[in-house]
Amino acid sequence: MELFLLSIVNGLIQGGFFALFAVGLVLIFGVMGVVNFAHGELVMVGAFTIWLLHAQYGLSYIPAIMVAIVLVTVIGLLMERFLFRPTRADPLAGLICSIGVLFILQVVATLIGGDGPSKQVPPPYQGTLVLFEFLRIPYQRVFSLIISVSALGSLWFFLTRSKFGWALRAVAQDREAAALQGINTNRISIIAIGVGAALAGLAGGLVAPLTNINPHMGHNVIITAFIVTIVGGVGSLSGAVLAAVLYAMFHTFMTVYFGGTVATICGLILMVVVLIVKPTGLMGVRISE
């Protein structure tokens, strides 16, 4: 029972983190039709920024996160303008371009941080929140849960309440129809990748004190993001959030009760099963015939 409660908390924290980057991936895919293979590297750049500015040069954590978000957003916008927009007619070209970006970002990180061991960032919030003797949550994780939930909440507010949010969802559903209705699809693409990249930067900033930071860390991130995206439904943001939490819970509980490797294999099988049974994912909409 204790383990069960603890696992729920762990799953929630992990789910919030998964959701942050999966939502970005879905947003970019939904609006631009591009599979951004470099999305994991955007998270990595966010984490590296924290390591460099906070752990190495002593900038406070929150400003460092701000810088990480801005930096990653700028990278995202540059990708949109110079890579995805010219190759819009062709999703595969966009994918290959994003692989090119992936290589470049990894090398930049290696040049800055060196090839040596994984980087560590001491947690800015020391100490542990002890709810019960068996339910102990480090403040760092509490912080990251609060921030990711509020970021996702604001995103939801933005998407449902603002004009841009409405336009963005319209473009994600049907780009041509949206363009016919006078929506500036270029501007919407910029917003989509801007928001997606900013969330990735934030995710990197939040995960930095919790994990090993190295130039190749984006690999695991993107695989998880793919699984979450597929399970949630490729075009659906709420699906992505739901899937992120469900998958994090699934993975956490599988890990706790059956071990890590089994959890990963089962995760992949789950994804294939979802693809077979409901190719559009849990919340995905059927793409018109």
Binding site: L3, G114, P117, S118, N212, T255, V256, Y257
Partner: protein
């Protein structure tokens, strides 16, 4: 700090270029001096770089020292030592290509490697070219690899000494749980060894938790292991020690911790607390440890080496920083005795020595029972414990002594994980 090291990597790897590092003295060769090339076919980029690159830095320090002192006399000749490195990035194809290049084109006399699948891949070539090759993982040795030796690190055998020490000094511990990455080269080998050591020590293993290399969050893993209430938390890994320690700290683990390595333990202390890390048992000493100055240690001036290394590469110390140098020194001794640098002669001389000069002393050749060749040097191995925020050797356990009595138990556990035994 990144830049100088980067330049260094670049120059050393450029098309297997000759490494004449920053130390100018090495250029002042004695008249008529020859050069002997020693190869390092290791990962210098990618995930495995931490188990390659620091070794190259270490060997460079040793080679520079020797060359500055006028080289080494082998037979009738005086030799300068040249390190030839190749970055295989832990890729099989590149490892084989780099190996063949070293042996066929660069004319090296010995090749040092990390071990694992990359050594498996080159093993055939080591035999074909009769090239003396070293590994840090003695499980790489097979009945078909007479030219492959492990003269320094005997991963994973040394882990038994830590468990032995733990059982002796903490008789109250009854149960242990093992966590490791699920790979046949590192994690499973260590797990089998720890299981054997715990069985011998009378400690019950209540959980073996294997995970993949894709874990981003260790919280659930640690929670599930701690739910089994082990007295000892054992990390049969080198890859994820820091995040595991962090989770143990946050989840309030109060028991004993034992690990293969505790690289960068100061970072772990920074992420947890000094009190928490205190008393953690592992197997790899810092080289400023006073106990390394005792007699019987076959490494010249460990403290001096440590200082030099940390001065030139302040953030890169890992266990391999002294292991490859120890192998290099061992080889030089062998070549001196053989009176030649030719691989077969050096190999024969090294192996004919019943009491090889093992870095921590007490060495003897072993391995036939488990892997089919007596090509591993086992001897004393340090048990290191964090005391007052500093890693300190507590005692030298005897790997060979343990193996004499309990090799059968080890074989049993190796088999249970599907690992190769003779």
């Amino acid at each position: 700090m990144g830049i100088s090291r980067r330049d260094f990597v670049r120059t050393t790897t450029a098309a297997g270029a000759l490494v004449v590092s920053s130390g100018l003295p090495s250029r002042v060769f004695a008249a008529g001096q020859k050069t002997v090339k020693v190869g390092m076919n290791i990962p210098m980029t990618g995930d495995y770089a931490p188990w390659g690159l620091p070794g190259l830095y270490g060997c460079q320090i040793i080679a520079d020292d020797i060359n500055a002192a006028g080289g080494v006399n082998i037979g009738d000749d005086n030799y300068a030592i040249e390190i030839v490195s190749y970055d295989h990035a832990y890729d099989l194809e590149k490892a084989v290509q780099g190996y063949k290049k070293m042996v066929s084109e660069d004319d090296v006399k010995m090749v040092m490697m990390l071990g694992g699948s990359t050594v498996g891949a080159i093993a055939k070539w080591a035999e074909r070219k009769k090239m003396l090759t070293t590994t840090l993982l003695c499980s790489d040795i097979t009945p078909d690899t007479p030219n492959l030796i492990a003269t320094c690190e005997s991963h994973p055998l040394y882990n038994v000494t830590g468990v032995e020490w733990l059982a002796k000094h903490h008789p109250e511990v009854k149960t242990a749980a093992i966590v490791t990455n699920n790979d046949a080269e590192y994690g499973l080998q260590s797990t089998a060894t720890y299981q054997a050591a715990f069985e011998v020590a009378g400690i019950e293993v209540v959980d073996v938790n294997l995970h993949g290399f894709d874990v981003t969050d260790f919280a659930p893993i640690v929670s599930s292991v701690l739910a089994k209430k082990p007295d000892v938390f054992c990390m049969a890994t080198s890859f994820y020690v820091t995040p595991l320690m962090e989770q143990l700290y946050h989840q309030g683990f109060k028991g004993k911790i034992i690990s293969c390595t505790l690289d960068y333990y100061d970072e772990i202390i920074a992420k947890t607390s000094k009190e928490f890390v205190e008393g953690t048992i592992f197997q790899f000493p810092d080289f400023d440890d006073p106990k390394l100055n005792e007699s019987g240690i076959n490494f010249p001036n460990p403290g001096d080496f440590d200082a030099k290394f940390r001065k030139s590469h302040p953030n890169d110390w890992s266990a391999v920083a002294w292991e490859y140098p120890a192998i290099l020194l061992n080889w030089i001794e062998g070549a001196k005795q053989a009176g030649t640098v030719e691989p077969q002669a050096v190999s024969a001389t090294l192996r004919s020595n019943k009491n090889p000069a093992f870095i921590f002393g007490g060495g003897k050749w072993w391995g036939k029972d488990l892997w089919g060749q007596d090509n591993v040097v086992v001897g004393r191995w340090p048990v290191v414990v964090v005391k007052d925020g500093k890693a300190r050797i507590q005692e030298y356990g005897s790997v060979s002594g343990w193996l004499d009595k309990h090799a059968g138990v080890l074989t049993k556990y190796m088999k249970s994980h599907g690992l190769r035994t003779v």
